[in-house]
């Protein structure tokens, strides 16, 4: 089984960074884009989701986070987007402090200027149903940056054209297929020129035949060197797009490394168990 | 505001108010008995495949839902005796008018509930060899009753409030007693406030019950 996976992964190579000769620790030595330190997060005293998670991501990397449900993958991405409070720990972005836990009752401190440089696409459809596709794209640039309507619309149309969705500019989200909705959601996030994209299981709500069109869009972004952090259950996609794979379970990073190593020669027993379960369908 | 409240004059009227409340509650219970049972039958009829049955029943429902309750009550009082040459006592007449009004509203609640019974349940009933009648009694009715319950109770308190309208045709309910007390004591503010509080004291807990049921359902369906 693992053999066939390796064939798939070699089918495509990326220009952005060469992941194969980069060890996980090597990525921390350069300019780190994201540095997550000792992250703790609980939803209630009894439900601890992140238990001291550490993670470093270099600029130009495409990190794929895999692991069992409830292992903290999606929570990590939500914290990264500034959607969740944390208990302790910190995240820096391009050397700047981004998210810091405040001791005591005060809320988590989020550097909003940094947050604006991060874009996210969710598992559930989050297009605004009362706005047209183009309006969905232009709302944030106009309201957040004060961009003119004409300029935002021109950029929006260019993006839609690139994604093959120009004909849908005036349509409402309910007139689109699931795959189209997720592609628009990606375009909407790109309108703000993010320095990092977060993809949280963006294809898991889709019908199987619609998955590929969304994954292709993400692939094309990868080819252009967009740094991204991806949570996915699609191991084929994980192997193809990752420059580094992070196996996350029990609220910590259990193992990380290049896709070849994680999928073909995992070092940890838990990683092996997880992959065995995933591939023995 | 310089008005000073004085509830002392009302004491003489407590007995009559209690009598009135009794009539109001009786009207409510009797109308609900009609509404809950007849409502289900009407719901089944309006879903009938035979248009000769469906159309008049639909007209009945829509007519009661789309006209003011007060005209239904007045109509019953003045027209039924003339048209059918029957002279029923006024409380019975009130119960009939309110009961049929509630029947129309409850029929809609039942219809929505029946339509929410998953198709698989019908299929399972057929697969188990139940007759159409058995399927209605053992599968559809329990399911529909359960899912219609919050609306049935809400409609039930709605009718409790609508009973106040029968005061207009001189049935001696709480509203009627209150109005006469207000006139005899010259204390309308105290009297009407007291009456309103009594109505509220009955409907509010029931409305809370409905919310409780709905909240528990929400949790259960999660």
């Amino acid at each position: 089984m693992n053999k066939s996976m390796s064939n798939l992964s070699s089918a495509k190579s990326f220009s952005a960074t060469d992941s194969t000769n980069k060890s996980p620790t090597a990525s921390t030595s350069g300019q780190a884009l994201v540095k997550v330190s000792n992250l703790h997060k609980s939803y209630s005293p009894t439900i601890q989701v992140l238990k001291g998670l550490d993670l470093t991501m270099a600029a130009g990397e495409r990190l794929v986070v895999i692991g069992p449900s409830g292992g903290g993958k999606s929570t990590l991405l939500r914290v990264m987007m500034g959607l969740e409070q944390i208990d302790s720990g910190s995240i820096t972005f391009a050397g700047q402090p981004y998210i810091t836990a405040n001791d005591g009752k005060a809320k988590t401190k989020i550097n909003l200027a940094v947050r604006q440089q991060i874009g996210m696409v969710f598992q559930h459809y989050t297009l605004f149903p009362h706005l047209t596709i183009l309006q969905n794209l232009t709302l944030a640039p106009r309201k957040v940056r004060g961009e003119s309507k004409a300029s935002a619309e021109a950029r929006g149309m260019a993006l839609l054209t690139r994604f093959g969705l120009a004909a849908k500019a005036g349509a409402y989200p309910n007139q689109l297929s699931g795959g189209q909705k997720q592609r628009v959601a990606i375009a909407r996030a790109l309108m703000l020129d993010p320095k990092l994209m977060l993809f949280d299981e963006v294809t898991s709500a889709l019908d199987p035949e619609l998955v590929a069109e969304v994954e292709q869009v993400i692939m094309s972004l990868a080819e252009q060197g967009m740094p991204m952090m991806i949570v996915t259950h699609d191991m084929w996609f994980a192997k193809n797009i990752a420059s580094r794979v992070v196996f996350c379970a029990g609220g910590v990073v259990v193992e990380e490394g290049p896709p070849d190593q994680i999928f073909n020669a995992p070092k940890h027993e838990r990683t092996r168990e997880f992959l065995d379960r995933v591939f023995h369908i | 505001m310089s008005y000073s409240f004085d509830f002392t004059g009302l004491e003489q009227g407590y007995d009559s108010l209690l009598e009135g409340l009794k009539v109001t509650v009786e009207l409510t219970l009797a109308a609900n008995l009609i509404g809950v049972t007849l409502g289900f039958v009407v719901a089944l009829l309006v879903m009938s495949r035979i248009s000769l049955i469906r159309t008049p029943v639909m007209l009945f429902i829509e007519f009661f839902r789309c006209t003011p309750a007060i005209i239904q009550i007045v109509w019953f009082f003045y027209c039924v005796p003339i048209m059918f040459d029957v002279y029923l006592d006024s409380v019975t007449m009130g119960v009939l008018a309110l009961g049929l009004n509630l029947t129309a509203f409850n029929a809609e609640a039942y219809r929505a509930a029946i339509q929410s019974v998953p198709k698989e349940q019908h299929d399972a009933g057929i697969a188990l060899g139940l007759s159409p009648f058995q399927r209605v009694i053992y599968i559809v009715l329990p399911h529909a009753l359960r899912s219609a319950l919050p609306v049935l109770i809400t409609n039930g308190i709605g009718i409790f409030q609508q009973t106040a309208l029968v005061a207009i045709v001189a049935i001696q309910d709480l509203m009627y007693q209150g109005k006469s007390l207000a006139t005899t004591t010259y204390r309308p503010i105290e009297t009407f406030t007291l009456i309103a509080v009594i109505y509220f004291a009955v409907s509010f807990p029931v409305a809370q019950l409905v919310q409780l049921i709905e909240r528990r359902r929400e949790v259960a369906s999660r």
Binding site: M81, G119, V144, Y172 | T67, L165, M175, P188, A196
Partner: protein, 221 residues
Amino acid sequence: MTYDFAVVLGYWEALLQGLEVTVELTLLCAALGSALGFVTSLARVSPVRFLRWISTLYVEFFRGTPVLIQLFWFFFCLPIILGSDISNFIAATVTLTLYTGAITSETFRASLKSIRPEEIDACIALGLPRLTQITNIVLPQALLRAIPTLLSNFVSLFKESALVSAVGMADLMFVGQNISSNIAKPVEVLTVVAVIYFVVAFPLTRAVTVIERKMLAKLAI
């Protein structure tokens, strides 16, 4: 027993005038009441405890008591409190506006709650300021979603407005009852009055269903 419905035709002008009063009162109270209802729905989710408390009390009390007693209260008590006479039109408008405010506030509250939390996540991810989230995402959707239920609230108001006849306001119900007792033909007159109410209300309830379906389709995701 034969009925002579033609006799009602002779009074069509009076009935029409009554209908006009009913419709005007309904429209006025629908406008004032839904504005009040909207403000009330916001007060009910306000962080200020006092606002939540007072708005809840108002809504529960007006939903928990018969409209007839509300009407009598304002008709008989307001003049005493104000120390001056008020017309039955004022009493009717105040009562039906407060009644509509109470029921529509529940409509608005439900529609505000129906905004999916995922969309708020998306707003944050896009960095939309709080004010933009409210004015561009929450409010437009809440108002759109409220439309069908609001319309059916207005139909209820239209029907409840018949109560103002009890304080002598010359609406359709009042005019109908007057004619009915004057010419001693209750079956014909009252039936016609009921049919007039039906003819106005029924198409509106159908419209509610149609709009609801359209709205659900439009705002579906």
